[in-house]
């Protein structure tokens, strides 16, 4: 089976080429954020100047705080509301349940450009307007379906007999939920929460339509800076964001197997 061996080796090589394609631009950006020349000229000379100047950029710092705050609040709200909804969809049978489950997919499937502009129109129309509160409203709605899907997937592996057993031993509904069900779905809840954080922290399109000059998030601020012209500071802050969101994702992967086990 010599051909098989050659094909396998080619396959492996191919995967490494794909990884190079995926990571090279990111690595180059990270390197350039440590380069002296603001126009990305080589030869490479090491500096941390751009990271230092980030601390002087008040606009960028306040946008970063906004992003973090919104992402944390979004995560908390999504985990609570999403877990509750998942439990209800798992535990109870009622008419219209299929429709409720199907309703989770439009927010995921519809391009954010459409959702974002629709939110802008509606929030403006009912007097909520734009700004951080509107952004929070939008982020929770975008992340909630993901949390429900992830937690529901975890609930599929839960044996309902366990709840029965606890109930027959005299536990009430709240005790059953807190002592039996919640510990079991915890990995799903944590994964869902990390998903929600990532969706919110990386969200650009919806935030873009809902932000105002003073009330904005980091990606929107970065987009504005990119369109004004390249600044090496943007490289630095982008590198930080990439590192943070990849670290977050690695953490998520610990709690949630994407590929499924075989």
């Amino acid at each position: 089976m010599a051909t098989t061996r050659i094909l396998e080796r080619l396959g492996r090589l191919y995967i490494w080429l794909l990884l190079a394609f995926l990571y090279l631009p990111i690595i180059i950006m990270a390197l350039m954020s440590f380069n002296v020349s603001p126009f990305y000229q080589l030869p490479f000379e090491w500096t941390t100047e751009w990271y230092a100047s980030l601390w002087q950029n008040d606009q960028l710092i306040s946008a970063t705080w906004n992003s973090l705050e919104i992402a944390i609040i979004t995560t908390i709200i999504c985990v609570v509301l999403g877990s509750a909804a998942s439990l209800a969809l798992y535990r109870y049978e009622f008419r219209g349940k299929k429709i409720l489950q199907a309703l989770l997919f439009p927010p995921i499937a519809i391009p954010w450009l459409i959702t974002g502009t629709a939110m802008l129109i509606f929030f403006f129309g009912v007097g909520i307007g734009r700004g951080l509160f509107a952004i929070l409203l939008g982020h929770v709605a975008l992340a909630l379906p993901y949390v429900i899907v992830v937690v529901s997937a975890r609930l599929q592996t839960f044996a309902p007999e366990l709840e029965e057993a606890a109930r027959s031993l005299g536990a009430n509904q709240w005790q059953v939920t807190r002592r039996v069900t919640l510990p079991w779905i915890m990995p799903g809840v944590i994964a869902g929460g990390l998903f929600a954080f990532a969706v919110s922290f990386d969200q650009f399109v919806v935030s873009y339509f809902l932000s105002t000059p003073g009330q904005t998030t980091l990606p929107v601020e970065i987009y504005a800076a990119i369109r004004k012209g390249f600044t090496p500071e943007i490289n630095a802050v982008s590198t930080i964001i990439i590192v943070v969101s990849m670290a977050l994702m690695l953490l998520t992967a610990r709690f949630f197997k994407f590929g499924g086990e075989k």
Binding site: G11, R12, Y14, I15, L18, L19, F21, L22, P25, I28, M32, Q41, L42, I77, G82, A85, L87, A88, Y92, E93, F94, R95, P106, P107, A109, I110, P111, W112, L113, I114, T115, T117, A118, M119, I121, F122, F124, L137, V140, A141, L144, D202, F204, Y208, F209, P219, I222, Y223, I226, R227, S238, I241, I242, S245, M246, M249, L250, F258, G259, K262
Partner: protein, 289 residues
């Protein structure tokens, strides 16, 4: 029995409601009502908030169909979506196959994670990172001129290929993910059986592997095509002057021209196109599930 079932399901709803209500109320206020409002506004001459007079009109839709610009841009966006999707299949499918059928154990897990990792990092930032690679005097230009004996100028920045490269980079992990999931579900003994019956590698691919992984291909294609058709940030950053697409025109209506009713109509037309595409993909996906 039937009556009993009905009462059980009603009491089920009563217990479920307090748990469901907050989540679905939020989705209603922030997704479903806005989408309905968008449809409503798309039939208006002006926003009814500004105090200016407004009336119902089909004018916004008439504008779309009467000015060839919008149809041409929608077509350009659909073509962009198609091209990006095809490139993602060409690049992503073989990678998914290698992951599912060649690599084993821990190395497979690790590489799989590496492939889908970038896709959860900030898309805007990744698009921006290509700017440094593609521009004249950028990394690609410098690297190629260092290797090649003759002088060439690589300046892909602000061009159609730059937009394609950026978008393929953003979306190819989707394709790898969905194809990998269906490919790894194919039983290895099925492939061995086919091989031992004398099927060539190409025949196996055409008759067994591709048909069985079709749901993954279709799911990946839908997941890529839909957002690419509505993309506006990627063409703006990498396409510059050549980066005018349907998505960028919608963006303009909301942030530059301030013709919200026309923007709403354009958005709604895009939504209709997206729904048709998802409906076309649905039968294949349902068959898989």
């Amino acid at each position: 029995m039937a009556i009993q079932g009905a009462t059980a399901s009603r009491s089920g709803l009563r217990s479920a409601l307090p748990l469901l209500l907050p989540a679905y109320l939020w989705l209603t206020v922030a997704i479903f009502l806005p989408l309905s409002a968008m449809v409503f506004f798309s039939f208006m001459t002006d926003l009814p908030l500004s105090g200016k007079p407004w009336a119902f009109t089909f004018g916004n839709y008439a504008t779309f169909f009467s000015q060839s610009l919008y149809l041409r841009l929608l077509w350009a966006s659909l073509r962009l979506g198609l091209e990006v999707t095809l490139w993602c299949i060409v690049i992503g499918y073989p990678a998914a196959y290698v992951l599912a059928k060649v690599l084993k154990g821990r190395s497979r897990e690790a590489i799989f994670l590496l492939v889908i990792l970038p896709f959860w990092s900030n898309g805007l930032v990744r698009i921006f990172s290509w700017a440094m690679v593609l521009r004249e005097g950028g990394i690609l230009d410098t690297a190629l001129n260092a290797v090649l004996p003759f002088k060439i100028n690589i300046d892909l920045m602000y061009s159609y290929p730059a937009v394609i490269i950026g978008l393929v980079h953003s979306y190819v992990p989707y394709m790898v993910l969905t194809c990998y999931l269906t490919l790894q579900a194919i039983d290895d003994s099925l492939i061995e059986a086919g091989r031992s019956l004398g099927a060539s590698r190409l025949q196996m691919l055409k008759r067994v592997i591709i048909p069985l992984s079709m749901p993954g291909l279709v799911a990946g294609a839908a997941l890529i095509f839909v957002p690419v058709v509505g993309s506006f940030m990627e063409p703006r950053i990498l396409g510059g002057r050549t980066g005018t697409f349907y998505g960028t025109v919608i963006e303009d209506q909301f942030v530059a021209v301030f013709n919200w009713p026309l923007g709403a109509a354009l958005s709604f037309i895009l939504l209709a196109v997206v729904l048709v595409i998802l409906a076309l993909a649905a039968p294949v996906l349902r068959k898989a599930a």
